[in-house]
């Protein structure tokens, strides 16, 4: 018996050492933030750098699985939305603690929601929850159940909680006490942030090992993309989340296995004409811009394939409308991009009263067709797209002047003075649900860029879009919502208030040292499953 015990005593540490060697653990993942995070308070996040920190540190009630597009329980084990879409009730996970050891319960959820909806805080995340006059009521049922009642229905209510990191109502560390896989361990402004593994993180893998596997994540603040690419080549960082096509090609030549084109992103690049009635634009130009035929002719006069091939090195997809094919459920697959057809474009323009006089297109009154496209300076891909559109439209006698402006001046012209003719910009979509686009499609919305903040819809088709957007937002029936939003996409395709150009592809670079990485189209593309990421043993050893 003693011999057996002795053998066990010798074997036990060996077995545990072997098990430790098999278990993926340890290491520091490094990648770059492209700007200084504006806040570490998860309720005040509105920039990409802060969003990265929120994603890596914040514990949420519900998480959208970036790969399957399905909502999954996190610190809530289940939830139920009332039939009228105004109330949501959560059952919470028991035995969960914040990074500083403070216990999590329903009071923390109530505290977070109250803070989120506090008008004094001006939380951008909270804005998505505002559905009507009045504040939402939070009812703490018991320590593991909480319900939130909104004054009016909130479309796609549960998916909004993917952005809400639950704060602790009791911790002395305030918002620095987190429920997510990492907590902010060190922050040197302008230099780096070090996120350390949360020792109290509740999630475990299938073998029962506590997640995350990584010891820490170091986020170096680096604005220069060139330096970022060089550091990736030197293996000083292991991830690049959104690569430009130019860097992608270069890295692909040097490290072919490390870069991936995931396909179209949710983001769109589009141009539109200023249709604001009070804008200081000659009346004859306003008439062009208000003409459906003119807008469609421009849409058909732009060679989207060339834009994708030349500006984005083939790493973009011609756009059909506001929804990318990456958004599998909401994309209206019956629509195709406007075909590039110069002959058809000219015929359409002639039908609308325009005529080609030598090399100049003129309208009915003889005005040469000339307009300027405004875009933001310093954005090379947009400047190049504008130059290509300039040449495309020159072939049908339209003279385009390209104006580039710094972003604040551009926004000033776009939203306040309306001193522009056409604008080329992009839209970053972080949400799959069409309700997130209410602020664009409603004619009364401030982001209804071609003619914002209308008192009543200026056209019949805008009134129909208003109706359809309200319809999809006020029902839980996904087939009805889908039908309504498909029709919105159809109207946008037919009327071309936005002339959609391309969806940039998601381009990523992941070092071979990173294991379990499965990049996806949704943000954050490379580290959405950060808790499962590990670093190869040799990489850890070489540090």
């Amino acid at each position: 018996m003693k011999r057996v015990n002795a053998t066990l005593l010798i074997l036990a540490p060996l077995i545990s050492l072997w098990a430790m060697a098999q278990a993926p653990a340890g290491g520091e993942l490094r990648f770059c933030l492209h700007a200084e995070p504006k806040t570490l308070n998860p309720l005040l996040v509105e920039d990409e750098a802060s969003e990265t920190i929120r994603y890596l540190t914040g514990g949420v009630l519900i998480r959208l699985n970036r790969r399957t597009h399905v909502l999954e329980p996190e610190v809530a084990t289940s939830w139920k939305v009332s039939k009228d879409g105004r109330k949501i009730t959560f059952s919470l996970r028991q035995g969960v603690s914040y990074s500083d050891g403070t216990v999590f319960d329903s009071e923390d959820v109530a505290y977070t929601i109250r803070a989120l909806m506090d008008p004094e805080l001006h939380s951008p995340t909270g804005d998505s929850f505002r559905s009507g006059e009045g504040s939402p009521q939070v009812h703490v049922i018991d320590s593991a159940q909480v319900s939130i009642e909104f004054p009016a229905p909130v479309a796609g209510l549960e998916r909004l909680f993917d952005q809400v990191a639950i704060l602790s109502s009791r911790s002395r560390q305030k918002e620095l006490a987190v429920l997510g896989p990492f907590y902010v361990g060190e922050y040197k402004p302008g230099n780096y942030l070090l996120l350390k593994r949360n020792p109290h993180y509740w999630k475990r893998d299938a073998r029962g090992q506590r997640l995350p596997y990584l010891d820490s994540v170091r986020l170096d603040i680096q604005q220069n993309r060139d330096i970022e690419a060089l550091r990736f080549q030197r293996q000083e960082i292991q991830l690049i989340n959104g690569l430009d096509a130019e860097y992608f090609e270069r890295l692909s030549a040097q490290m072919p296995g490390a870069v991936q084109d995931i396909g179209p992103s949710l983001d769109t690049e589009q141009m539109w004409f200023n249709q604001v009635t009070s804008a200081h634009i000659p009346a004859y130009k306003k008439a062009w811009f208000a003409s459906q035929e003119f807008r469609l002719a421009i849409a058909e006069g732009i060679n989207r394939d060339d834009l994708c091939r030349i500006v984005f090195g083939g790493h973009a997809t011609p756009a059909v409308g506001p929804v990318s094919p990456a958004n599998r459920f909401w994309f209206n697959a019956s629509l195709k991009p406007h075909p590039y057809n110069l002959y058809g474009t000219l015929r359409r323009l002639q039908q609308a009263g325009f005529r080609l006089d030598g090399e100049t297109l003129r309208d009915r009154e003889g005005h040469p067709v000339e307009f300027s496209i405004l875009t933001n300076a310093g954005n090379k891909s947009r400047e190049r797209m504008a130059a290509m559109i300039q040449q495309d439209l020159a072939q049908i006698g339209i003279r385009v002047n390209v104006m580039t402006l710094d972003f604040p001046s551009l926004i000033e012209r776009m939203t306040r003075t309306f001193d522009y003719e056409a604008c080329l910009l992009g839209l970053v979509n972080v949400d799959l649900d069409p309700s997130a686009q209410m602020n664009i499609w409603l004619s009364s919305a401030s982001n209804h860029q071609w003619n914002p903040e209308q008192k009543s819809p200026a056209t019949a088709w805008e009134a129909e879009i208003d109706h359809l957007m309200h319809t999809q937002a006020s029902t839980d029936d996904s087939s009805k919502r889908k039908a309504a939003f498909d029709r919105v996409q159809q109207i946008v395709w037919e009327q071309a208030p936005f002339i959609y150009l391309v969806h940039k592809n998601v381009l990523t670079a992941i070092s071979p040292a990173v294991q379990n990485a499965t990049p996806v189209a949704l943000r954050p593309q490379t580290y959405w499953n950060v808790e499962s990421l590990t670093l190869a043993a040799e990489r850890r050893a070489s540090r």
Binding site: D226, I310, A386, Q390, V402, T404, D406
Partner: protein, 267 residues
Amino acid sequence: MRIMRRIALGILIGVFLVSLVAELVAPGLYAVQFRDAPNAPGSREHLLGTDELGRDLLARLLAGTQVSLLLAPAAAFLATLIAALVGGVAGYLGGWWERLCLGAVDLFLSLPWLFLLLTARAMLPLDVSAWPSVLITFVLLGCLGWAASARIVCAGARALRYSDYILLARANGCSETRIALRHVLPNLKPILLAQFLISIPVFVLAEANLGALGLGVSEPFPSWGGMLRGLENYSATLANPWKVAPLALLLVVTSCFQMIFPQEGLT
């Protein structure tokens, strides 16, 4: 030295003539996008290769040369003229004039030059076609870039005011106008020349900065400044070394400008 001066002059005239001839032989080639050959290396069709939109780099370089070779010196001339006037008056007349002029100079120098340019350019019309945008950009550079030169000219003129030969001229009954035109101005020439030469590359680079902020020469018109922006991506430049051509030409041309003027006059 004279041989070097002639060579430099020959190079400048050569470069300018080639850029003129190129535009006459193939007008508007700089804007044509050969979309099947973006970022192509040098070849028989495109001697210096093409840019990222497939536009012939040589054609763009030559068209940009016309712009920069004509307009940067013109803007430098305008700035030097204003500097001569303000600095000359301040230095030669002295007293209240000097305080007033130097106050204006100090005000201009205290304002961040780039932001001043940005503000002034943003206030002017932006939705103009290529040539007017070129003219606006360089006139603006000339009108705003005189202050530093004026201070130097002022110091030179002040030194002349108390010089023996000016006192002698005044004692002999020369009028102030005659003194200014016949004695002061010729003696300020070396300073003005130096300021003029220094201003040329400064204005080329200022145009590049304005271009980077969207306020320079508009597409599809090329300028050296705009082409120098292509060099900001170090790795891309390493991969496509023919993109250095505009920088090389800028160095050659500014060096030639330095050489064509008599050096003894500058000291």
